[in-house]
Symmetry: C2
Subunit: 326 residues, 2 copies
Amino acid sequence: MESTRLDIDRIRAARRVIDPVFLDTPLYRCEALEPGLGCAVSVKLETANPVRSFKGRGTEMVASQLAGNGSGAVVCASAGNLGQALAWSGRGRGLDVAVVASRFATAAKLDRIRALGAALELVDGDHEMARERAADIARYEGIRLVEDSLDIETCEGAATIGLELVDTPPSFDTVLIALGGGALATGVGHVVKALAPGVEVICVQPLGAPAMTHSWRQRRVVTTESTDTIADGVAGRRPIPAVLDDLLLVADDAVLVREASIIAGMRLLLDHAGLVVEPSAALGIAAILEDRDRFAGRHVVTVVCGSNVDVDAYHRWVGTARVPGV
Amino acid sequence: MESTRLDIDRIRAARRVIDPVFLDTPLYRCEALEPGLGCAVSVKLETANPVRSFKGRGTEMVASQLAGNGSGAVVCASAGNLGQALAWSGRGRGLDVAVVASRFATAAKLDRIRALGAALELVDGDHEMARERAADIARYEGIRLVEDSLDIETCEGAATIGLELVDTPPSFDTVLIALGGGALATGVGHVVKALAPGVEVICVQPLGAPAMTHSWRQRRVVTTESTDTIADGVAGRRPIPAVLDDLLLVADDAVLVREASIIAGMRLLLDHAGLVVEPSAALGIAAILEDRDRFAGRHVVTVVCGSNVDVDAYHRWVGTARVPGV
């Protein structure tokens, strides 16, 4: 494989820096899901930790470096999960953490960012505007800006999930990964392609936020004017060129799924696996629902990447959705 | 401590026999629960595995022994979780597994027992009648009967949870454990009292199924005529003398909680921790809700022991319950 920005030795070393509460997460077969999906399905569960998403793996690396070199402050833009994770990792190391988010972000995520002691600033725009504002703060205050997916720690932190996937029997035919900024996809994809190259890496994005998928398909950065999806965690409009370059090297495919399929996936995971997941974490199941023939007879693993939902919205989604054909 | 039937060395050895998918389960602080509970709360999550309960830890030991000595068949009575776990462990080792359950048992549990390939027999009575029928089958067919809580493997399998609690920082002030037949309580309690004797062990049972708690308080077996609780996993009427003897040595207290508190606990875990749990797994949170003063300022860990629910009943419970004072 051509070289991405990621490095297997650094990813292995990351395991020694990341708080064990984020590592060695459950990986297990969910047979009760399978009659509805037509293939063998395992889940890699990244929600059973203090911040209910995989993002702690990356923020632990960042916060540990900052604490090690005497830095006292850090800022990031976040749709809500990175901010929580950075707040958690920073709090444990005495860092001042600032998070910039869209005022339209999931309220439960914003509440948790505040509860974890971070300074939260809301912008009257979408996540891309929050990214700009966070960059301004970093420049003005002279503090570290954490840029999700661009900063190698966010990718290599996520990549430790890949180590846990390839180090554990049984092997899988396909890994389904939510695609947003690209840290999770390039991280897990890098490890899978380096250590288990026969395993297919498929990225999944909502039709309502397709910028990175369009970019992957056209092999150049394609931006969109807006996003329209409940999957707030992956709703970016401006892919980062360096991340796209990495994704082109590790993804076998990138597919887009409908909102109804995301909701159906959330409901399947609740009803048949007992798992509360946020919309981004149901993208893999949504991809199977939309193309059962493609996955028939295969063993698929999907990374359940987060469970931070607004309770009312969640009940509305899973209470009204119907799963076609299940 | 006086001697229970359990042995720390055997419990440590059990970790080498039990499929790793059941071991080293998530243990983490749930700060979002804490404003509603008034104490620090960590959960030990036993639901993220192929059978969605802790019971696999014990059935792995049983099935491994049977396979090792050439036995081909095994039978148990079950409210639903032991049966699933034995079916899973037996299937992987080529054993014929028979499960006897009440026809009033949770339908989702019975469906999974069948799906895992076990022969399921339903009795027209409660769990105690299923126990009698399973014993008859074992005698008649000359096969191994697995008796939950009486058979040492079920206790020592559950006890491996205790090792994971005491081996991981931070230490806790109190462990809250669902009390049914007693395997989980005596198992975890034995390890905690042996290795971290300063930690308080509190067993929690529903007011509607209080036989073991009454027995513990009176230091003699007390049976009841019936049970009336949604916590199907702990609804026994006839405590086993040897298990009570062990429980008397390891439990610091046994408390009873109301059905409304169990439902409130399930809802808190769903809304603030994103966890689907079955009623038995909410008993610890219910105990805190009923006696906030007792736990104020302490660090409590509760074992979330299972998540197998009938979907409709679950939605009914969590959709209508209101958490008093939260």
